[in-house]
Amino acid sequence: MSLTAEVTGGAAVAALPDGLDWFDIGHPDYTALIDADTAFWSLVRRDQTETVIADGALVQQWRDKRQSFAEEMDMLRFHLKPSAVYFNPTERCNLDCAYCYIPREMRKGGQQMSRETLLDAMARLDAYFARTLPPGRKPQIIFHGAEPMLAREAMFAAIDQYQDRFRFGVQTNATLLDDEAVAFLTRRGCGIGLSLDAPVPAVADRSRKRWNGDSVFESTLAAIERLRGYPGFNVICTMNRENVDQLTAMVEFLHEREVPACMLNFVRCTLQGGRDSWVEDATVAQAFTAALDRTHQLYRETGRKLVVANFANILISILAPTARRLMCDISPCGGGRSFFALVPDGTLFPCSEFIGLPEFAGGNLFRDQIEDVLETVPFKKVSERKVEDIAKCAICPVRHFCGSPCPAEAHEANGGMTQIGAYCDAYLEQARYAFRLIADGVENDFLWDGWDEGTETTFAFGAC
């Protein structure tokens, strides 16, 4: 049976023009009609499919727009320039998390940038973006790790010096995020991301702990309290085999503490530690959608949202493909084309996921032109990976609402760039869930207010 046949669920549906496929979203009243290549979709009442196709109006409007939608997707997929850097000022980390994508030996005693080196790197990045981005558009620096707060003094100096040139964010394990650090970052409008995997230490400590095994749950909780009320604050929860039964409780925990946004990320299987934490597709999909359901209930009960940002991005990829913010769920992914990663010795990788894979080093910020690095073989291997070249994706109706993440995972765990990564069935269920929300007219409940500011409607077919 073909994947297309699988996803239609065997429903009795009308024959279609080339380019359109039915996609069973598991909704009692609606099924989806998708032109996968252009990310066009419509939801049609199951009992009206033959009538709608025979009527011809929907198909004609799709045909009228098909070329412009194709051009839009081409621009999104192949013609963006980098506008963000995942900047690792240190390889070191004071934690030893089970699934980290940075090799253990690096985290234990790796390199760390001095203040002078970090500021030199910032000057070079500033010069690059001045050459490549339109005037007025600020690039983004996300200090990441390993644990970037280990390089706090140098990092804060860069934020102070370049706050008018860049937008800044810090992703931290929160152990070093004291009152002074919170005051510094919040006064400057920096994004702050924390990591926490469960609402109780007994579970959270299984995957995230210090080198000696000690818990960091309380220090993370203290940071969450310090940041209460700050809109640029979020928490990443990595879904793995240790916490998969805690996801609903986790969103309740975060919502209660007024966290405005979180991510529920599938643990990446790039390195062995991640593969050891892998959780089976059906299990994680069920837990993930149950947690999303719970965020919706909490919103309806309280009027306050906890936006699950990675899922919100999937919804947006359907509603307004070019408005998506995250680039893991489009192919080619954003690695090496809309962002890249920098490590302390200046080496550039297409994405942080490749930092443990030396063959994907594309050059060095202190020796090479970034424009040249983007054209190197290691970068091109990532920035040219597309769903059309992956057998299972090439026939999948939701290939542009999934993107077949992640190239690092596909390469390391599944044997190459033309392989799928992990969680294919979970991503399929995620797309079905998103379409069901649209069918029920509740999609905006899962998105942050004003998500569509700056967009224009280019297709609307909603006549009763």
Binding site: Y30, F40, S42, L43, V44, V52, L58, K65, L76, L80, A84, R137, Q140, I142, G169, C190, G191, G193, P231, G232, N234, I236, M263, N265, L292, H296, R300, V307, A312, L319, P321, T322, A323, R325, L326, M327, I330, G334, S338, F339, C351, S352, E353, Y433, R436, A439, D440, G441, V442, W448, D452, G454, T455, T457, F459, A460, F461, G462, A463, C464
Partner: protein, 39 residues
Amino acid sequence: MTKIDPKTIRPTVIASRKSCDAEGTGLSHYVLMDKQVKR
């Protein structure tokens, strides 16, 4: 998901699309969703 009022009439076809200048920049290691933190 939260139960929807069955009295709500939904159309035969739901289809829409919005567009803007693409500024997608992020990966799922950091929540890069809002265009600017409001201070």
